[in-house]
Subunit: 417 residues, 2 copies
Amino acid sequence: MDRDLLEKMFHAAVAQAQPALAVRQHLPGKPKGRTIVIGAGKASAQMARALEEAWAGPLTGLVVTRYGYGETCEHIEIVEAAHPVPDEAGFLAARRMMEMVSGLSADDLVIALISGGGSALLPAPAPGLTFDDEQAINRALLASGAPIGVMNLLRNQFSTIKGGRLAAQCAPARVATLVVSDVPGDDPALVASGPTIPLGGSRELARKYATLYRLNLPPHAHALLVGEDNLAPTPDDAVFRGNSVRTIASAALSLDAAAKLAREAGLEAAILSDSVEGEARDVGQVHAALAREVAMRNRPFRKPAVLLSGGETTVTLRGKGRGGRNGEFLLALAIAIDGLEGISALAADTDGIDGSENNAGAFADGQTATRLRKAGIDPLAALGANDAYGAFEAIGDLLVTGPTGTNVNDFRAIIVR
Amino acid sequence: MDRDLLEKMFHAAVAQAQPALAVRQHLPGKPKGRTIVIGAGKASAQMARALEEAWAGPLTGLVVTRYGYGETCEHIEIVEAAHPVPDEAGFLAARRMMEMVSGLSADDLVIALISGGGSALLPAPAPGLTFDDEQAINRALLASGAPIGVMNLLRNQFSTIKGGRLAAQCAPARVATLVVSDVPGDDPALVASGPTIPLGGSRELARKYATLYRLNLPPHAHALLVGEDNLAPTPDDAVFRGNSVRTIASAALSLDAAAKLAREAGLEAAILSDSVEGEARDVGQVHAALAREVAMRNRPFRKPAVLLSGGETTVTLRGKGRGGRNGEFLLALAIAIDGLEGISALAADTDGIDGSENNAGAFADGQTATRLRKAGIDPLAALGANDAYGAFEAIGDLLVTGPTGTNVNDFRAIIVR
């Protein structure tokens, strides 16, 4: 098994997503005036700490993160608040953040540290709406089945922060946004509802979507949406001139890092997708089918090759075993390549914990099923019981790293020789 | 939507798999002596008819197919028998077929027309075993979760026909085998348990597998397996010299035909796999993720491109709607590419009927979800109710072809521009 190379690729992917490294690589230039740091999201406190350590000059600021995700910072205040359902702490932090960026000059610089989860951490209902209204709007959006782009456009109509409205309040100061992305395609406007990024799409379009998706808005909110000028206006494009946006960590960047390593090792590296979703075992079967095609017919990629993918699968619990998404993915893959030579795989959560146990993920190849049977474990029965952890533990094929301090979802690599 | 090109690719795939066309393209040379036609499988009667029409010379023979799959032939007798559980008709036909090929000369030619399902249609228990034993062995194998290669090796130990044993009985006559494949990778030894193809793997290996996979064999059969010389011997390789094997139709060949058409239309054609398995909606999500990667990042294939795949997915029934595997696949794909430009897809069963209704499959693109909502159908709710047929019918996006007269499983094509 190509265990060493697989593990190296995983570590390269994780290293690329470390906020400390990523922030250092993307520091904006120093301003003439003041530097104010704002931000929200699960990784934002880590980003704040990394920024403090790397920044040569004075700075102040306020960053909101999820309860338990705080870091110790010297100059940037770190506030913890509730996620995914917002609370008073986030509400107050959002207000203070808006005060902090008001009255800046054109010589000042605002650095926005944005990461996944930031939308819930910065609740800021538009004038005329209550905190409860914002919650009800969010529930209606989630129930609608609308795609994320549509949800964002609508959500933004009811906020004084989202969709670039926070950046508009920073003007005339420049805003440099650093993004740790958790969304497919890494559109920065979709991370944390893009408080510093202008989102295309008008009030008019938002009204059309509300009808098309049969949004069950609170009557109060609906009246505001269809009325004129009652909600926060869409920021004018002019206020974003001079601003910058850098995606500093994402599944895509991590996959790129792993691909680079693989190419240096002489493999063709194919990045299938940074955003694979679906039931883990079925996703495993499709990856296995692709690996078989490469193994048996040398297409659609040439051997030796590595297939890389990211994203987050789901597991429907059927049994009482232990294990996570990546274990399930691999066990199904192992069954689907049972007996085949030349295929080996790793799947792991980039945060270092795959599910409820202590492992980040595991390894599998065409002999995994045979090894399991020799250990007295029927692979299909283990999969049926959701016991991937037990299975891979029994044959010594778990990958244990401990928490990595970052998260760009799952990482999968399949080498075919 | 690229509806025309998608539909042309599907028809090219189906045409490539037509027994009439395929048999004509692969006729063996005429022998000095007699020509005897044998065969078994769901497509074998059609192959027999095509052979009769194309063959310039006398021939006789016997071919077994599934009840309802018979064809009218002039010189080749067509017997219908039970599938997937064998019956007396298949048992008697197998005996007559063995008699028919005994006593041939080196100048004679046996043409074997082999297709999926042929294993059950030619039950021939080894000496010392009954028809019931063979059934019990088959049940034990299916329950073991062993891969198809292992199942075949074991199954063959208990048969006087499978694993090349029928061809051995044809010696010294040459055997020309034409295969319509329904197995991943198209190993002809795995189609219909390869009655004319030598299968690697010894009696000794079969015994090891029986232990490893904890096979619950009938005591009688187990005793025969572990004993010496009680079962039909593995044919000697020498008897296969001079024989030929051609895979004349398969998912892979059909995907190749579609790829050729796509390349002529200026697309990069990527064949992902001829044997994708898994829950249809999850398989749809993974295909969508790959299509998004191509659409948004122009990798791992360059636009304009078409992603092609074959194989057979499954559907777990949750609701009471109408539809088949391909409809479910497409509805999940449509939801996952909702709002994206430049992606259009077709998924259909190459036999012309996707599930219980009259359609072969359907079409979908990034606007499908919007069209459904405008028609008053919530895409997620339709998927939840397994009502892909109702959904695609409502927006006029079904593909209806009628039965095609062949079957190389599902066909999926996704064009990304």
